[in-house]
């Protein structure tokens, strides 16, 4: 593996009720997070291929870890999202190199299919910073019940020369969704949008 990983964090949230009303089955989200060394910290590098390759490795590793943490089969995953926080000795472009060119393909293998864009967020920030990972349905971005986000945070990361990379996978949408729009049952699943 090209990535030098300091730690891996896996977090699962299971919501059983909302406003006193039972959520059955419970809705569940899993975040898999890697804290890695930023090979380009403190210097300008024109060629960011190394980070793109790291993105490919992490799409696979974190995608599989999140699905495993939910205890589901890959095709039972419903929504996904990704995010990165670059420590203050790196650039925002380092996050882009990890997230955009190559991370999506192995993540889509981990969740089987995934016709939709993987929603993303990125920032440069200090140790302990939280980031809201945006979520959307994996096969149809317009499914309204699955628009959501999961806040993730690792208390001792990223250090200046590190990058925190997060992948979130869910087996459901929001608890008690009721604002209409495109339903899961209406997904055509061809263009990734509807």
């Amino acid at each position: 593996m090209t990535a030098k990983i300091r730690k891996l964090v896996v977090q699962v949230e299971e919501t059983r009720s909302e406003m006193g009303k039972e959520v059955n089955p419970p809705v569940r989200k899993a975040a898999a997070i890697a804290v890695i060394e930023n090979p380009f910290a403190g210097k300008y590098a024109e060629d960011l291929t190394t980070l793109m390759d790291i993105g490919e490795e992490l799409g696979d590793l974190l995608g599989r870890r999140a699905v495993a943490a939910l205890g589901i089969k890959p095709n039972e995953a419903e929504s996904y999202g990704k995010a990165a926080i670059v420590g203050d000795a790196g650039e925002l472009e380092h996050a882009a190199a990890i997230l955009h060119p190559k991370l999506g393909k192995p993540l889509r293998v981990a969740v089987e299919k995934g016709a939709a864009l993987v929603p993303s967020a990125k920032k440069r920030a200090g140790i302990g910073a939280p980031i809201d990972v945006p979520l959307g349905h994996k096969d149809a971005a317009f499914v309204r019940s699955h628009f959501d986000a999961m806040e993730v945070r690792v208390s001792d990361a990223p250090r200046s020369n590190e990058i925190l990379v997060a992948v979130v996978v869910t087996d459901s949408g929001r608890p008690l969704p009721r604002v209409g729009g495109l339903q899961v049952s209406e997904i055509e699943g061809k263009d990734g949008l509807r």
Binding site: I5, R6, K7, L8, V9, V10, Q11, V12, E13, E14, T15, R16, S17, E18, A69, P130, E151, R153, V154, S155
Partner: protein, 194 residues
């Protein structure tokens, strides 16, 4: 008997490979489980709160089992533990103290004959409040390599009428422990201290 109403359960597990020093042959695993429950005593003073202490035992055991499963180890591989509670704004600190007995019971029940006192902390706080859960060796409180803490929070909890009850477990010493003191190999295991 007080009915325990769980809104959500969150598990979070970290695998630590290094912290700038040599990469450990066996990564340290440390994790937390949080259950967000309704506080039946919120908003008023209730003299007799003891019924809730007994009622919390089954939840404690479920939390312990979930955490050990999330850590992916056998119960016998757990070496450190801790517990805590965050009481929402409409409750009192004393409500958090209800977790002492069931939280400790839950872990001892699963980990076998753990001799040491379970270190703990508690506070009153709002949604997203962070709490540092102290960690010590399960059989001898003075084992210096296992003194640690894990920062825990749940982004939308506790609401004013809720309590977040927390358990923490670790599988070994700090990743680069090297400040001497009583070693795990030197535990006598008689008094829970040494």
């Amino acid at each position: 008997m007080v009915a325990i109403k769980v809104r959500k359960i969150q598990t979070s597990v970290e695998e630590v490979f290094h912290e700038g020093g040599p990469v450990a042959a066996k990564p340290l695993r440390q994790g937390s489980v949080v259950a967000v429950i309704e506080n039946p005593y919120a908003g008023r003073y209730v003299e007799d709160i003891l019924p809730m202490m007994e009622a919390l035992k089954p939840l404690g055991l479920e939390m312990s089992q979930r955490l050990v499963a999330a850590l992916g180890v056998a119960p016998g591989e757990i070496e450190g533990f801790g517990k805590g509670a965050i009481v929402g704004a409409a409750g009192e600190l004393e409500h958090g103290a209800l977790w002492h007995v069931p939280g400790g019971y839950a872990m001892r029940e699963l980990l076998g004959d753990a001799k040491a006192i379970v270190p703990s902390t508690k506070k009153v706080g709002g949604p997203g409040t962070q709490i540092d859960i102290p960690v010590t060796h399960i059989n001898a409180s003075y084992v210096r390599s296992h003194f640690s803490a894990l920062e825990v929070s749940a982004v939308d909890a506790p609401a004013a009428n809720e309590i977040a009850v927390i358990l923490v477990m670790t599988t070994g010493p700090r990743i680069h422990a090297r400040v001497g003191g009583l070693k795990a190999s030197e535990i006598k295991g008689e008094d829970g201290l040494r």
